[in-house]
């Protein structure tokens, strides 16, 4: 009753909703970098919210299903096929026993989530199945998936061939019109820039040094209004730090707990899914945002997820 890894992909990690309440120990939140695609994958697979999934980075693994399974793939526009049948994303898919799932490149983003009905069985560490790569614990011994790894799953009945329905859901996390550079909304931080609003004045490019800890950006260097030595203070996922080189870093789910750089803003939670999907070389812009607007965007996103859950319940009731 398992999935066997035949080829691991670039960086495939077990992730769930992460850890909370351990930052005083220096322990990062972790968890799915794109919480939206993660939640959709679990919804489509029929899992409870927060079930462990595989988070695929840029290009995916090849997996043999030793038992039939019901799965869902969401995020990144990932290429997928199973036993010669191209698979769509954002739909429930049935995979027969012995099926080999080949995941290709993320064509429209950086991260995809593979959810398996019943969840991937992992022993939680500090309350979560999430892999903390930097600290080396959680998931599969704190490391990415390797060839030969076997992940325990619950088998599915009545699956003899690759199947998926002819409907799909709109997987967009964002109800704003798309086109041009990604726009990430930012709450005011502790530090101002000089001149004010310098963060918003031009576009930034994502550099290859980016990872789950933070997106490192490159653009016209900016400065904090107040210079000088600072003492480390708490930071959180979303915090926009400004190191001395004037190139901002947007902290993500694996953010360290404390940081000494000026904090010039906080990327709003509703835009974390978009941040997680940015690839090295992609461009983004920031726009200022008020707390009420951040809350409204988050609540709209949750309502969209809720509507999708209701629609899926209706589909299942009719099936």
């Amino acid at each position: 009753m398992s999935i066997e890894c035949l080829a691991p992909g670039v960086a495939t990690l077990l992730q769930d909703a992460g850890r909370r309440g351990l930052r005083r120990h220096g322990i990062a939140d972790g968890g799915a970098l794109d919480p939206w695609s993660f939640a959709l994958a679990n919804l489509l697979a029929g899992n409870p919210a927060g079930a462990p999934t595989l988070e695929i980075t840029l290009a995916g693994p090849r997996l043999r299903f030793h038992v039939a399974a019901r799965i869902a793939l969401c995020g990144g526009g990932i290429e997928a096929e199973c036993d010669g049948t191209p698979l769509p994303t954002s739909r429930p898919v049935a995979v027969p026993a012995g099926g080999v799932l080949r995941l290709g490149r993320c064509r429209d983003g950086a991260r995809a989530y593979l959810a398996v009905r019943g969840g991937l069985r992992v022993v939680p560490v500090l309350g979560s199945a999430s892999t903390d790569l930097r600290a080396g614990f959680g998931g599969i011994a704190g490391r990415p998936l390797r060839s030969g790894d076997r992940l325990a799953i619950e088998g599915a009945a009545n699956v003899d061939s690759v199947r998926f329905p002819d409907w799909w859901i709109d997987p967009s996390s964002d109800d704003r019109p798309r086109g041009g550079d990604r726009v990430v909304r930012v709450l005011a931080g502790s530090d101002a820039t000089a001149p004010p609003g310098a963060l918003f004045a031009h576009a930034w490019q994502v550099t290859p040094a980016s990872n789950r800890q933070g997106l490192r950006l490159l653009g016209r260097a900016i400065a904090a209004a107040e210079r000088g030595e600072r003492v480390s203070e708490p930071v959180v996922p979303g915090t926009v730090q400004l190191p001395p080189d004037g190139q901002p870093i947007v902290l993500l789910a694996d953010a360290q707990t404390h940081g000494g750089y000026p904090r010039i803003g906080h990327a709003i939670r509703a835009d974390w899914p978009a941040l997680a999907q940015l690839r090295p070389g992609d461009r983004l812009r920031f726009s200022p945002c008020a707390p009420d607007e951040a809350r409204a965007a988050l609540c709209r996103q949750r309502q969209r997820l809720h509507r999708i859950a209701l629609a899926l319940d209706a589909k299942r009731a009719l099936a």
Binding site: R20, G21, L22, R23, R24, H25, G26, I27, V125, L126, D132, R134, A135, G136, F137, G138, L187, S190, R230, V231, S232, E233, P234, V235, V236, P237, G238, T239, Q256, T257, H258, H266, I268, R269, P291, A294, R295, L298, C299, R302
Partner: protein, 241 residues
């Protein structure tokens, strides 16, 4: 604490700042405030994360309900009152509470202490003097951060202060006892790092399978005790067993 400030830290936390320096008295005020908040256990409290001169209070609320919005406002006002009520007498009393002291055995042999000679040269002291001064210090864990279980220690003898390496090492061994400017710390796990390495402890500082995953917590006292290489190896074997 009229100069104290309170500001949002992202969408579900508030940052309370008492000052901007690395100063034992200021840090003691931070820990007193942490204890005050934790003792009151308000229903919306998720976690308090101390730092040198500030602390973050994480709220466990749902921002998409009226109750959640109300709780956020209530929490801000309540925390403001705690800041205002934390009188100097209060702080003095809390500072007299004897914090638990954790003794950390440290091997200062050259194999464990690649930067000890540089520190000695920088300070104009002998190796033995550096070890003696390092062990004489009465340290306080100002905060745990950077990595799981990494203690930032206040109390380093100012003569031992030395700037970080210009270029960080790609590999610092687990247990390395380090100096970064006026701060002292211990690397729980092998990692890159730019602090000067003066010794190494065989003790494990972090283990996710422990009921409390870190050996050290903010507010505790720490003392270093010198051990030789044989003791280091014996203790390391015990630690691994």
């Amino acid at each position: 604490m009229n100069d104290a400030t309170i500001e949002p830290l992202g969408e579900d936390a508030l940052l309370l700042r008492l000052g901007r320096g690395i100063d034992p008295a200021l840090n003691a005020r931070v820990h007193a405030l942490v204890r005050r908040i934790e003792a009151a256990r308000p229903p919306w409290l998720r976690e308090v994360v101390p730092a040198y001169a500030s602390l973050a209070v994480f709220l466990d609320i749902d921002p998409c309900t009226d109750a959640g919005v109300e709780a956020f406002a209530t929490a801000g006002a309540w925390l403001r009152r705690q800041l205002d009520a934390a009188s100097p007498e209060d702080v003095d009393a809390s500072m007299q509470v004897p914090a638990t002291t954790v003794e950390i055995p440290v091997c200062y042999a050259p194999a464990c202490a690649p930067d000890l000679d540089d520190i000695a040269a920088h300070a104009g002291l002998s190796r033995a003097d550096v070890v003696a001064l390092h062990c004489a210090g009465d340290y306080r864990v100002a905060m745990v951060g950077f990595a799981p279980g990494f203690p930032y220690l206040i109390g380093l003898d100012p003569r031992l202060a030395m700037p970080r390496l210009a270029s960080p090492r790609t590999h610092v061994p687990a247990g390395s006892v380090a100096i970064g400017g006026a701060q002292a710390g211990i690397y729980p796990r092998a990692s890159p790092g730019g602090w000067r390495l003066v010794g190494r402890t065989p003790l494990a500082l972090f283990d996710p399978s422990w009921p409390s995953p870190c050996l050290l917590a903010a507010g505790q006292r720490v003392r270093f005790r010198p051990i030789d290489e044989a003791a280091f190896e014996a203790l390391q074997a015990d630690s691994a067993a």
